[in-house]
Amino acid sequence: MAETQYSYLVSEAINRRDAQISKTLRKSLSIENFHDSSHQLEALAHDIQLVNDHIKVDSRIFDEASSDYEGIASKLVEKLHWPNESIRIIPQGSATTKTLIRSPDNSKFDIDAVCSVDLTMVEVSDPMDFYEKVGSALEEWEPEPKKRCWKIDFQGRRYYIEFTPSTPLDKIPQSATGQITFSPSNRYREKALAVVDTPSKQWKTSNPEGFSSWVSDQSSRPLLQWLLEKSMRDSYSAESVTPVPAQDVEISDTLRVAIRLLKRHRDMAVRRNFIEPDLKPISIIIVTLLTQCYEGLADKGAVYTHPIELLIDLVELMPYMVERRGNEYWIANPTVEGENFAEEWNDNIKLKHSFDTWTNLLLEDLTEIMATTDKDSRRQTIKEVFGCTAAQSPTPPYGSGLAPKKPSQHHKAPPTKGLA
């Protein structure tokens, strides 16, 4: 099998990793006989599934967000008189990779969307004019300007929308094409866009849709033995496939589960004060490293009998997927040539140290989980590690009407303690 870019990185990572978690798991399993080991893995998978369910964002949120996107697009049409057909809203980031997670304190989270506008159909003079026009059209929501997007806080929603004005690369005025930062890579080139980089006031190549497709395409490559077998059967007769229980499908979607778990672990490491909020590893780095790793394993033809084993490999190999190019750390955006997600690490080494601190904590925590053979204590440990305690459990929809009767009166203020 020919070595690919990521299979090479994975091979290097395999040589460098400590493999402490997998060793601990094997040691724990070896105490049991085969049958019990299988049960142990199933119980572990069940516990991981609980965490996954706990941190996942209710899919109804995306429906709400979709209607908000439409509202935003209508506003652009109404205020800027841009033709309806010139605007296309593309959800991006964790909303499209299905890796959005709740924040540990149930506070609002970000949902990203790109607004792709065909600049040949509208009137804008330069990138900043385009960015500002979109911002002014959204003024009733008092958008907050960010580096490349507008952040909108919709009343009554559990999320902010980060809204990035963009245009298809081939719709940029001829005069500006020479000034675009970065160029699209060969992968998903047709989905590439240009966004406005406000610090430099220039166009910058971006490919959020391509990136999401990359994650989706990789995650659908079967690395689990039974999925491989299913895939082979599928190619002969779709009717012969036994329906797989939904729960199994969820945990078998190992790449996405890994992304969610690691993002949650990172968020908990911040809440627990292990890492500074402004130094926390950004989600795009976690997603890229894990997907690279997954792709590398698939390219190598790796096959796993249980998703837990695959999950452990992804976690153990991920820290070693960071490339060194000369003296620089590199985490390349596979869809944009020359874009390095670790660029800031090279200017601020504390960011790299923070990443190392977090991955060490992650490895320690997972090793402890794997070392625990008693099911109840292990479940407790997993819940603690991922912050799945009572005060951080998911919340039901509003308006549950739990009181047996409506408040009967206007409430009077209780006696106070005074102002001294």
């Binding site: 292990f274 305690t389 005060a391 459990s393 739990l402 408040p407």
Partner: protein, 552 residues
């Protein structure tokens, strides 16, 4: 009536059958709806005390297992929500119970079920930490509380600091001057020993779910925060001659802090009768932390300028009825250093208007005042020089002084200071009171502006009233004279002078100005017949008092 209330309680749709009680307090379990998994509550009850109708409040309690698991459940299990409005609200007992029950569901059960109370642990972090500490406290633990004197800097530090054994408190901080003043203030002469402290900034307050519970948790967090080498040094630190030493950790979050005493320090000794018992220190103990840094003690974090004032040195000449309270106010306002110069001793005639009292009669005013200020407001280093300013200037200069306050009202002092300021570019406040404190004046002269212009002393021209001679009283049996006024009336002058001084310190005054406090004609008439304002001051006439600001 009681029967009706009984009936109301018995038939209330939210109350279940009354519990049998051993005392006169009545208890009714509350109906609890089905709550989502992880948020279930199996019991809650309302307690109605015997004197509920006339005096006491009804409250709701939850089983103690929910303490530190659900926000707003206090140390005794009672639910801290706005509840019973009390008998003085005018509500009937029935309406009070109804309100309490309504609020139980609308302010507690429903928001809890929706996760809306989850962030309340961190909003009221210190409350829950105090509950945690009180649940872990032991009679023999060597340290009960840590006081911190450092400002929040965002940097981790390891240092040794004093431990007042008899009071079981540690004064933590690496600035020895302010820390030692606090030790002097709080030790009352008791034995001081040393502990090793790690002060570690954190971004989020600890909450019950995530505060370190085991030594392993602490080791992990400290190692990440200090780095493995410093963490190892800290954990393995020993005292003199290799004796064990207490090691404390202060985690400082924005606006609050959390302390720990690590196991392994020297045993604490407790005297019981004639015998001395030793108790080993072998568990991880959470400790309350109280801040003594100036941002908190002088401004409750609401006045950022207080921190800059710590770097200021104010020279006050004259420590009498005006100077002594102004000195105290400046100390309370965060000024870091005060030098007090006055050659007078306190006499019985002074104590009605001075901040010192009878226990200082016969002592140097500035010596006693400086000591008193340093002990009471240790963020201020106050020094007293019992001598005239002329003598003080023979051995000292104004080189490290930021601002001079001349509160003597004496022309030769004004002249001398004006000359000295020509050598050192510093700010000046000259303040004085007229008889009865019918008016008071604070002249603010930024560096480079001088008091004497055209060889003239401007003080008298700034007075609001032309005073007849009989207003100045002579002391019997001596040649000295004094003005009549009360301490209460002088308080206005103290405020005027202190605020003016702080404005100069905070660089809010760019050109020379004078601020006058002038009482109205009614006050003047009460003090002495026939008193009249100068023309410019007549605008105060109709008021009880007026502050006027003019250019100087």
């Amino acid at each position: 009536m009681p029967n009706e209330f009984d009936k109301f309680l018995r038939e209330h749709e939210c109350l279940l059958d009354e519990l049998i009680s051993s005392n006169s307090t009545r208890r009714f379990p509350l109906y609890i709806p089905n709550l989502p998994e992880g948020r279930t509550i199996d019991k809650a009850w309302i307690e109605i005390p015997r004197d509920f109708a006339d005096r006491d409040l009804a409250k709701i309690l939850l089983p103690k297992k929910y303490i530190l698991k659900i926000p707003h459940v206090e140390a005794d299990g009672h639910l801290c929500i706005d509840g019973d409005p009390g008998p003085l609200s005018g509500s009937s007992p029935r309406a009070r119970i109804d309100q309490l029950i309504d609020l139980f569901y609308s302010s507690f059960i429903e928001p809890w079920s929706r996760g809306e109370l989850d962030s309340h642990f961190s909003k009221e972090a210190m409350n829950y930490w105090t509950i945690h500490c009180s649940r872990c406290i032991t009679r023999t633990q060597p340290i009960l509380k840590i006081y911190t004197t450092n400002q929040e800097t965002g940097k981790s530090k390891i240092y040794k600091c004093p431990f007042i054994e008899s009071k079981r408190i540690v004064i933590a901080g690496d600035d020895s001057s302010i820390r030692n003043r606090y030790v002097n203030s709080m030790s009352n002469g008791n034995t001081i020993s040393t502990v090793m402290a790690a002060e570690i900034p954190i971004s989020f307050p600890f909450i019950p779910d995530n505060w370190p519970k085991k030594i392993k948790d602490i080791q992990r967090l400290v190692t990440v925060k200090l780095g493995p080498d410093d963490a190892c040094k800290f954990f393995e630190s020993v005292g003199r001659r290799n004796r064990s030493i207490h090691r404390i950790i202060v985690f400082r979050a924005p606006g609050c802090a959390f302390g720990y005493l690590l196991p392994g320090g020297p045993p604490s000794k407790t005297k019981k009768g004639n015998s001395l018992k030793s108790f080993p220190s072998n568990s991880l103990i959470p400790l309350k932390v109280e801040r003594l840094d100036v941002s908190w003690t002088t401004g409750r974090d609401q006045h950022p300028e207080y921190v800059d004032r710590q770097l200021k040195h104010v020279l006050i000449i004259g420590a009498g009825a005006l100077g002594s309270p102004v000195a105290e106010q400046l100390a309370k306002s965060g000024v870091g250093k005060l030098t007090l110069v006055d050659d007078d001793t306190l006499s019985s005639a002074n104590i009605g208007r001075h901040t010192l009292g009878a226990n200082s009669i016969g002592s140097s005013k500035v010596d006693r005042l400086a000591k008193s200020i340093s002990v009471r407001w240790a963020s201020c280093n106050a020094l007293g020089f019992s001598m005239s300013i002329q003598k003080w200037l023979k051995n000292n200069t104004l080189i490290d002084v930021d601002i001079v306050l001349d509160l003597t009202g004496e022309p030769d002092v004004r002249l001398r200071i004006d000359q000295e300021r020509k050598k050192n570019n510093i700010d000046l406040v000259i303040a004085w009171m007229e008889p009865y404190v019918a008016s008071a004046h604070a002249c603010l002269l930024p560096a480079g502006d001088f008091w004497v212009t055209n060889d003239a002393d401007r003080l008298k021209s700034l007075n609001a009233i032309d005073w007849p001679d009989e207003v100045i009283l002579n002391e019997p049996a001596c040649s000295s004279s004094f003005q009549s006024y009360t301490s209460a009336a002088a308080t206005h002058a103290v405020a005027l002078t202190t605020e003016a001084t702080l404005d100069l310190i905070d660089k809010k005054v760019e050109s020379p100005i004078v601020r006058h406090w002038i009482r109205g004609q009614k006050y003047l008439d009460k003090c002495h017949t026939g008193l009249q304002f100068k023309e410019w001051a007549k605008k105060a006439s109709d008021f009880d008092g007026l502050i006027i600001e003019d250019n100087l």
